[in-house]
Subunit: 328 residues, 2 copies
């Protein structure tokens, strides 16, 4: 091939591939039923004149966070934050030496903490999430996110957002959707990094909520965080949280565990058009494969069983996703 010929090939390749890229809003998704179902749904509800057209104001999409937008192993990331914070703060709290829950946490004994159940959790949260202003808590989470590294992937935790899900969020927003997080995790924990990570602003982050109290301290207004938990945004709490915070039914819901079952039911049953999707962790090499609740992951049994009857799409991470994380 002469020079002109090879130049033409280069140009042709550039044109071809930039077209492919521009045409494919979900480049990290392999072709298959999951990707087709997403593109088909978005096409139907955005086509004016189509019987399934949905006005932009009603294009509400809700996403679980742990296991859906980022991993939840070897421990849920908010628990990793708690364990790191306890270490950072231990020297200021001599009284923790006689607290068996906190000692188990400092020793990294997650199995023991699980046995101890909610009482242990309340104490860990009190030590790391309460007794400070909302501003200070936000700063603590941001500082941790900058410095902590995931033990397997050696990156900041928020650099582990699933690339295919980031593309999906962007694709939905480009098509007029308002995207919300609806997670069992703490709302304030997520709000500290969700905007930068997912492009989701604080006012679209719904999560579990701890009590705060308004006070004027030294002439300045503050919100003091308290140890009481006001609202648990999980399981049947998810439709309740959606109602409280959004006030209307979403038309699309994305989850990965039985904690998301009721959210998918609320979004899809008896409502057309609507869309439900479950991320199934099938990739033991690139991540972890699980669905029947190993030590610290979300159990996906009931929701998986209900998926065919409801028409929910099940994403097989190993087959459906070209990559899990951006190579950045």
């Amino acid at each position: 091939m002469n020079i002109i010929g090879s130049r033409l090939v280069v140009v042709a390749w550039l044109v071809c591939c930039s077209i492919t890229w521009a045409d494919d809003p979900l480049p990290s998704w392999n072709a298959g039923p999951a990707k087709s179902a997403i593109v088909d749904f978005v096409g139907r509800i955005t086509t004016e004149g189509s019987p399934q057209y949905v006005v932009p104001a009603k294009r509400i999409a809700v996403f679980d966070n742990d296991g859906t937008l980022w991993p939840e192993n070897p421990v849920p990331f908010q628990l990793a934050f708690v364990l790191d914070e306890l270490k950072r703060l231990a020297s200021e709290h001599p009284e923790w030496k006689t607290n068996s829950h906190i000692q188990a946490a400092l020793a990294g004994d997650v199995a023991k903490l699980k046995e101890e159940g909610s009482e242990a959790l309340v104490q860990l949260l009190a030590g790391t999430h309460a007794g400070i202003t909302t501003e200070q808590f936000n700063a603590n989470v941001r500082q941790w996110m900058k410095t902590a590294r995931h033990p397997r992937f050696h990156r900041p935790y928020n650099r582990l957002a699933y690339q295919p899900m980031l593309e999906l969020l962007a694709y939905l927003r480009t098509n007029g959707f308002k995207t919300f997080i609806v997670s069992g995790g703490g709302a304030d924990f997520m709000r500290a990094w969700a905007e930068e990570t997912y492009g989701i602003p604080p006012e679209q982050v719904i999560g579990s909520i701890g009590d705060v109290r308004f006070e004027i301290r030294d002439g300045r207004p503050v919100l003091m965080r308290r140890p009481e938990i006001d609202f648990v945004d999980d399981k049947a709490g998810k439709p309740v949280g959606i109602h409280r915070f959004i006030g209307r039914r979403p038309i699309a819901a994305f989850g990965n565990s039985d904690g998301d079952l009721q959210m998918l039911q609320w979004t899809t049953i008896g409502q057309t058009p609507s869309f439900g999707l479950l991320v199934h962790h099938t990739d033991a090499e690139r991540e972890w494969a699980y669905d029947k609740a190993p030590s610290s992951s979300g159990k996906l049994v009931d929701a998986l069983a209900e998926a065919p009857e409801r028409g929910w799409i099940v994403v097989d991470m190993k087959k459906d996703w070209k990559m899990l994380f951006s190579s950045y």
Copy 2:
């Protein structure tokens, strides 16, 4: 004047007046310190390069509802709904005949209800707001809004939104603000008509919250309303509600009573740029003049006293507003 001359006058008038209108985003506001302060603030925070420039994502404005966006006399409008609903439903509830609170309400004896205090209120809310699905409640409110008429102004209640405040909401949104309601009223009551009335979608309506429970009934998911009140969005509850639902401090807050004091403090103290405004009901002819809490209106004493020190703008409804309601 010949025909060409008169045509020129008409054209000149059209040009002149459309320019005036286009130049004035707040045509129902008289010139004065309140209007100037609003326009000045919006100018400062939207001018790129200005030291007080605020990025659009942080342009959060919060509005009280009763007495700020619409009237609250002769009774708060949600109470008018309750009284009308009790009448509509009384024949289905023979057990109400022995309930003194409900009997006082059916007799329109608001003074007696006030004396009876929160116990009466809980019973009235249980009778009209609970035991039904969220969908049914929404339909009830919408039906009432269509058919009920305000006793003094003889219009549907939501046609009593203050025209100057509608212009203010639109002006802020045109300038990149996200506008929220933060009201002591019921969130679900307001969500039934706020979008149509104020252009504020359900997910931007923060109010007091009743408990709801998720259930599957006859194969369909529903949220059943319960009589318990989960959250009272008033006074020190307003900054708490803002934190729960928005997750960051607003830069502008608008209220009309001491119930809004903490919301204005949270928005403005120690935060520059920021803006606080109180609507002062000074117009006994076109509406009602009050601030020291006549029978059923919001008390404006502490917040009014604090306004000068904080730099909060006080709107004198009689002087500052050309009209209260659109003539539609």
